[in-house]
Amino acid sequence: MSKVLEVKDLRVSFDTYAGEVQAVRGVSFELEEGEVLAVVGESGCGKSVSAQTIMKLNPMPPARIKGGEITLNGKDIVSATEKEMREIRGKDVSMIFQDPMTCLNPTMQIGKQLVEAIKNHQKLSKEEAVKEAIRLLDLVRIPNPEQRIKQYPHEFSGGMRQRVMIAMALSCAPKLLIADEPTTALDVTIQAQIMELLKEIKEKTNTAIILITHDLGVVASMADRVAVMYAGKVVETGSVKDIFYNSSHPYTKALLKSLPTTDMERTTRLVSIPGTPPDLLNPPVGCGFASRCDNCMKICHEEQPEEFEVDKEHTASCWLLHPDCPSSQVGGDK
């Protein structure tokens, strides 16, 4: 398998009137062909900003890439010009957004919007492009695509619009698909349909997918690997089983425990994480989670934890995992 994407120590800041908001503070991950990486975390933890930076979609300024490398299909993204980015977007990487209601142009027919995307990157005649558009709508399971391409977005339901968005994202067979909370705005029964569709498309086209979500149920059903983000950093990364059954970072553990399971009695209290995430305008010197962590030590407030290897391809950034930490055994399951 070949590597599609490599992000190394990415740092992104926003210059605001209040000061510099350090939204992403050193994020690294990589992705192979046909792999699904789930990025989970609370709102404001930097998961969407990291993903948007891969496509350079956040306006610069106020956004600014402070450091790090992004390599997509062997192309350097950080130094790419806007003209080069226009080539890369759609062809190498494309994105599905959270809100299918606002991402389509309400004054254009669905077919026209699809044809526009197709003709931008492929040398096809109009008839061929329309044929391709129909094929794509059929691929995402929209009934009667021949009639549907002449309709406007308001004639589609939320789930159907998300299918159109997926069709558009797939129009140039990108190597990487970024799905930014693709099902958050949809109902559970429709969410199940869209997830099934994404799985099917991954099987068919071998596209790598970055799935950004805060729903751990969605992660469990789709992802191969998971990166847990907190306060602008990846705090733990590993295979989906590593994360769910053998999590090592206190934040990941608390997050998993805070979910009620279906066989839970009402008398058992949910584990809750006290406090709120830190303000990234003045990020803490030490570990971002220190103020909310049960196992917090002195060093946690003073120095940022390094990344420790828990297992093969399973790392976590927590001082409890340091070999010199006396309670590192206890830290395993507390």
């Binding site: 789930g159 469990a220 009620p260 009402r266 949910l270 809750s272």
Partner: protein, 324 residues
């Protein structure tokens, strides 16, 4: 609570409907709901967006007057009281609501103390000094503190704002609270804080909740009984254990199987039943069962006759296919 035959009825909902007139006809947001809510219980209400669950919640506390039907509230003195224009003011002292969006449900120009105090002033409760003390007590009760009283809503995070919303609802000492998706706008780690808080308050103050949500895992955890709603109708009503162990209505079955479980092994084994199509429009609904258009087991009778909510196999369900 649900199995307790002696449980006292708190709210009787008798064939309540709420229609809205729109340009294309009539929108039947709530279409003939007939259930009781018992004192001290948590009744969960689940369904997809647009099924009328929020409208039902708002009708129940008197924000919307029902188009048809009656809501009868049994007061602490044991007197039944029908909710209408005349009784609405005294009813609002007993029933309160917590809204979904903690960002738009608090007045940005009022201090937290003003927001919490307002209800007490309207209902002429206590003197000025005591009200001030009450505000502090309420803030502590919901896990905030005195210093927060003179701040404005924008200075708080989502979870803290929801706590303010809860304090406001509790200020006039209600017995019945409609929680309209109180946690869906919050992050996972904050959700459990609010759920625990609501649970503690229920035990402490003996509250009755109608808990509206679309997150089925949370609803199962917090509720004694769960009602499943589809297109303005209750299609199934059972104790939360019963609903999960012995799901009868095809819609409830599909809804439960669609929820992703945060456990990769269980997810891999799960046989997911995927519903085709979308929720139909509630405007000018066809006769017959509201779910007939998407039901995998649809029969002729389903398109002709609307099934009633009847006791079948130990709990209430509205389906022609389920046998008694």
């Amino acid at each position: 609570m649900a199995n307790n035959q002696d449980a006292k009825k708190l709210v009787e909902i008798k064939n309540v409907s709420k229609y809205f007139r729109v340009t294309d006809g009539t929108l039947k947001a709530v279409d003939g709901i007939d259930i009781d809510i018992y004192k001290g219980e948590t009744l969960g209400l689940v369904g997809e967006s647009g099924c009328g669950k929020s409208t039902f919640g708002k009708t129940l506390i008197g924000i919307y007057p029902p188009t048809k039907g009656k809501i009868i509230y049994h007061t602490a003195e044991g007197k039944p009281m029908e909710i209408k224009k005349k009784t609405l003011f005294s009813y609002s002292k007993m029933a309160q609501i917590i809204f979904q969006d903690p960002y738009s449900s608090l007045d940005p120009r009022m201090t937290v103390a003003d927001i919490i105090e307002e209800g007490m002033i309207i209902h002429k409760m206590y003197d000025k000094q005591r009200r001030k003390e009450r505000v502090y007590e309420l803030l502590e009760l919901v896990g905030l503190n005195k210093e927060h009283a003179n701040r404005f809503a924008h200075e708080f995070s989502g979870g803290q704002r929801q706590r303010i919303g809860i304090a406001r609802a509790l200020a006039i000492e209600p017995e019945f609270i409609v929680c309209d998706e109180p946690i869906s706008a919050l992050d996972v780690s904050i959700q459990s804080q609010i759920i625990n808080l609501l649970h503690d308050l229920q035990i402490k103050l003996g509250l009755t909740y109608l808990f509206i949500a679309h997150d089925l895992n949370i609803v199962k955890y917090i509720s004694d009984r769960i009602a499943v709603m589809y297109l303005g109708n209750i299609v199934e009503l059972a104790s939360s254990k019963d609903l999960y162990d012995n799901t009868l209505h095809p819609y409830s079955q599909a809804l439960l199987s669609a929820v992703p479980i945060p456990d990769p092994d269980k997810e891999a084994q799960k046989d997911r039943q995927i519903l085709s199509g979308d929720v139909p429009s509630p405007i000018n609904t066809p006769k017959g069962c509201p779910f007939a258009g998407r039901c995998p087991y649809v029969m002729d009778i389903c398109r002709q006759e609307k099934p009633a909510l009847e006791m079948k196999q130990g709990h209430l369900v509205a389906c022609h296919k389920v046998e008694k």
